[in-house]
Assembly symmetry: C2
Homo-oligomer: 323 residues x 2
Amino acid sequence: MPSIPPPASVLVVGTVAFDTIETPFGRAERVLGGSATYASLAARLLTPDVRLSAVVGGDFPESHAEALRQRGVDTEGLARDPEGETFFWAGRYHHDLNHRDTLATHLNVLATFEPELPESYRDTRVLCLGNLDPTVQMSVLDQVTGPDGSGPTLVVMDTMNYWIEKTPGPLGEVLERVDVLVINDAEARELADTPNLVRAAREIRERGPQTLVIKKGEHGALLFTGETEAPTVFAAPAYPLEEVLDPTGAGDVFMGGFAGHLARVGEVTDDAFREAVVVGSAMASHAVEAFGPQRMLELTEADVRQRVAAFHALSAIPARLVA
Amino acid sequence: MPSIPPPASVLVVGTVAFDTIETPFGRAERVLGGSATYASLAARLLTPDVRLSAVVGGDFPESHAEALRQRGVDTEGLARDPEGETFFWAGRYHHDLNHRDTLATHLNVLATFEPELPESYRDTRVLCLGNLDPTVQMSVLDQVTGPDGSGPTLVVMDTMNYWIEKTPGPLGEVLERVDVLVINDAEARELADTPNLVRAAREIRERGPQTLVIKKGEHGALLFTGETEAPTVFAAPAYPLEEVLDPTGAGDVFMGGFAGHLARVGEVTDDAFREAVVVGSAMASHAVEAFGPQRMLELTEADVRQRVAAFHALSAIPARLVA
């Protein structure tokens, strides 16, 4: 994979939504949410050129779009369907915050979302395909010509169990064109149909993505690079938090931070991927400290740097042991 | 805590058992097992003076005791009750190997086990209290005078949900006298009655153990040292294995490797504890690659060194990120 001249442009395609969130620690009613919201805010904190493609309904307040713009996100690709309603999700987290029940999913305008990228987005270098119908992901992939007509330099993708079960064909076609797949452990096991994550990683990487990140929530993340048969594995811990208020969006923040870091450093080496996992983890650990996107709307680069340093301290093995 | 002149003596108290193990990959019938077996074999690979205290029945073949001695374990404290039968455990692991059903637990001679330490064991410096009735753990603790009559230099302890639920009083008394508690995440949550591990760690450390290791199986381990209110946390990954044949004894091998490393280096600093967690994890990752104690009976120091190096590679964050 070629290196990317930094800072590279990042396009995040996904959902912009209203979320109603219940956790053991409180409730947030119809707050700004969606994968593209979280991921673009995260990426933008790291790199200047971050574009968003999503759709909202006539009920979407201009103040929310303005909040994204104030944080520097390019919202030219935020389509509005005045006749429709914005995608709505409601969920309730269990006591341990590791499990949640979905109480409502109203696709609304998302049901007919066919993103048409603005001209200004087509030269995107780093494409982040949020969790969406794989045919929509493919359509976006086809529209990005990249700076020289050969397509995006790096494609990062998320998906979920629903698409793995319902649309394996189209999902497989997108996977073939993806550089980095970022999914959670349950999704990896389901996608590869094996409980063992090392075997799952090999199976998944054989289908396309040269690089694989498996998110394990409070247990951190695994990064697979190098040869498929003899992978190089990096295990990042999760930051041990005493107060998790709301895990919503943590995975999207991770992907946005991951892609944002790569765009900033302009490298796609194993070291850069490791750094990107730590930066994404650091940002996700901040995101869960408040309800909805609140923390992401306030987060500073200094906050991220500080937590990245904490990740170093957290995982440092004394050098003497291998001396 | 004072440093320990290396190599320090280690005493492992626990069970020596017959195990019948079923996993999706095979079955082992009445093989040598028990926490003291696994832990003493692990410790002995790292440090020369490892003593074992346990009880077996008249059905225990001398060849098993001889196997322990051949690996250098001092079995003077292996009591034999010729009238009784050896502790027997049978379990079946689920598809993902993270869960198991206990099919049988016959305490047999363990039901009346009242260890009386040989004179030669009383000066022990590093005492490993395997998962046993806390009144038995306390009795052993009282019998160890240490080299100067003030008791063992370092007490490492394991326990399980059964004792947390059934004997909270005696368990609390032992905890007050323990330096390092090594338990798994479910036990930590139950002992502290909170799902959050950071809060659980604080609560547990307030009851006695200055150092706490929380084992998370395939997700690695957390080490809490330093101030109880503002702990220093170390997150060790688990080695990503493609073939786990039998997880039986992995936790005991971890504790034995942990204690063995501390005895070998004669230090109880944060760095030494981090190293001990990595060494314990490395040994446990070997142990699960074969059925029963087979791998532990063959393991070499070179195997351990090699895997410890792999742990470094696995968790190394590029230095540039904090430069």
